[in-house]
């Protein structure tokens, strides 16, 4: 019954090409992450339409591209389309800190394993968990210090805006944290 969807670069590339903002990071990224999506496990909170699920996943994956571009180029404005509230403020503060310290970081996602786990009864929030594998490269004054493989389990809350879902909370937990 487990449904697995593998989305390669096409979806993300097509989405991002429309925005026109992230062409450079995409061009530099030769290997797009693999994406696996498990069926929603909503605990009866609210039925989730297929279109909504697809939109949430599309917008969340794009948010990773936006975050990577913002932290790589130290440009907080790149966060505006995909992040809002606490997630936006936190990431923007990180970009500011990086700029002050002469650091930039390059996040290259290798794989996402996603599951939507909550859709609030009134339809104003969706929560998903993403077990993600990525490489984090740290540059000190443009000198690469390290490229570190990282596995993390992200807890993410998205809320609807005018035309898309935007990430409101975004936080990693250890991969070994209790499963649902």
């Amino acid at each position: 019954m487990i449904r697995t969807i593998l989305i390669r670069a096409t979806l993300i590339a097509a989405t991002l090409a429309l925005s026109g903002l992230l062409a450079q990071p995409l061009a530099a990224q030769t290997d797009a992450p693999s994406v696996q999506v498990d069926p929603p496990d909503l605990q009866g909170s609210r039925p989730l339409e297929k279109q909504t699920e697809a939109a949430v996943i599309r917008d969340y994956l794009q948010s990773w591209q936006s975050m990577a571009a913002a932290l790589d180029n130290n440009q907080p404005a790149l966060l505006d389309a995909d992040f809002v509230g606490t997630a936006h403020d936190t990431l923007a503060a990180t970009v500011d800190e990086q700029t002050k310290l002469g650091i930039h970081t390059h996040y290259v996602a290798r794989s996402h394993h996603l599951q939507i786990v909550f859709y609030s009864p009134e339809g104003l929030a969706i929560q998903l968990v993403d077990t993600v594998a990525y490489d984090e490269q740290i540059f000190d004054h443009d000198r690469e210090l390290i490229s570190q493989p990282v596995n993390a389990r992200y807890v993410v809350v998205l809320t609807p805006s005018e035309v898309r879902w935007r990430v409101r909370f975004f936080q990693a937990t250890p991969p070994a944290s209790p499963a649902h």
């Binding site: 936190t90 310290l101 929030a125 210090l145 937990t173």
Partner: protein, 290 residues
């Protein structure tokens, strides 16, 4: 000669290797740190180096004297998440990954309660969703009991405790049978968040038509109109009076005022007079002029 020099060369190589190992930077990362707490990272080696802690939520950069622990004061590293740490001295580096975990005590609730206004006696009509945060606005992903309490205007309360799951707890509750302002409270630990919900009367439950002769007219009036929980239906609710005779029909829409709807209609002997509001129909009378 060869037999004499070989051990010397091996010894020199070992000494050089161990010297290099002794000078290369090293650190001993804690597996996890609670957000906002003081901690230190022991280092090894000699000379100066830099230590960078980098995650999406926060970045720190410290100058380090190798061989000394790097201390971080309370409140310095507060954003929960996975961090990469790199200790660099020239081209020599040591790196690792560690976690900053949320403070387990809730300090803030983000509480969504919907709707803000609804009819009384609606099963599962009110929903509440609470996101649980620590003092640094990190989502507390460990299970936390969250109690929801919905108190109606008389003080009667429904209460339910839900354990949060990855920082979220939610519930549904019935609206009260008594109209008025209800308080919806979510509470986790010592922190609470309150929302106000306006519970209004529902549709009329039944209609009773009363008729009196009034000269050439018939005075029509409803009995006080209540919803099915006994709450007075709000003024302005439309009641429709219909009088029919010999294929002719006369209809009047009247707003309820002070619990009742009143109207005068022509007194037609043999007419059938009925009353309705929304989908609720009242009694029907046959008017004989008295």
């Amino acid at each position: 000669m060869i037999g004499v020099r070989a051990p010397v060369l091996v010894g020199l190589v070992l000494v050089a290797a161990s010297a290099a190992a002794a000078q290369s930077p090293g650190m001993n990362l804690p597996p996890s740190v609670t957000a906002g707490t003081a901690f230190s990272i022991p280092t090894s080696g000699s000379g100066q180096a830099i230590l960078i802690l980098a995650g999406p939520g926060q970045v720190l950069r410290e100058s380090v004297s190798l061989g000394q622990p790097v201390s971080f004061a309370p409140g310095v590293l507060y954003s929960a998440g996975r961090y990469v740490a790199v200790l660099a001295q020239g081209s020599a580096t040591d790196s690792g990954v560690f976690d900053v975990t949320p403070v387990p005590q809730p300090q803030k609730l983000s509480f969504l309660a919907r709707p803000s206004r609804l009819p009384v006696a609606l099963p599962n009509g009110v929903s509440g969703t609470a996101f649980v945060f620590d003092a640094y606005h990190n989502i507390i992903t460990t299970p936390v009991p969250v109690s929801f309490q919905l108190s109606d205007s008389t003080g009667k309360a429904q209460e339910r405790t839900v354990t949060s799951h990855d920082g979220v707890a939610w519930t549904r509750m019935n609206s009260a049978s008594k109209e008025g302002t209800a308080k919806f409270v979510a509470r986790a630990g010592d922190v609470a968040s309150t929302r106000v919900i306006d519970e209004v009367p529902g549709d009329p439950c039944s209609l009773t038509l009363i008729a009196h002769p009034d000269g050439s007219k018939v005075a029509l009036q409803t009995a006080p109109v209540r919803d099915c929980s006994g709450n007075p239906v709000p003024d302005g609710t439309i009641v429709t009076f219909t009088e029919a005779r010999d294929g002719l029909q006369s209809t009047v829409d009247v707003p309820i005022k002070q619990d009742v709807a009143r109207v005068d209609m022509p007194s037609w002997d043999g007419a059938t007079i009925s009353v309705a509001s929304g989908i609720v129909a009242g009694n029907e009378i046959r008017w004989e002029g008295r």
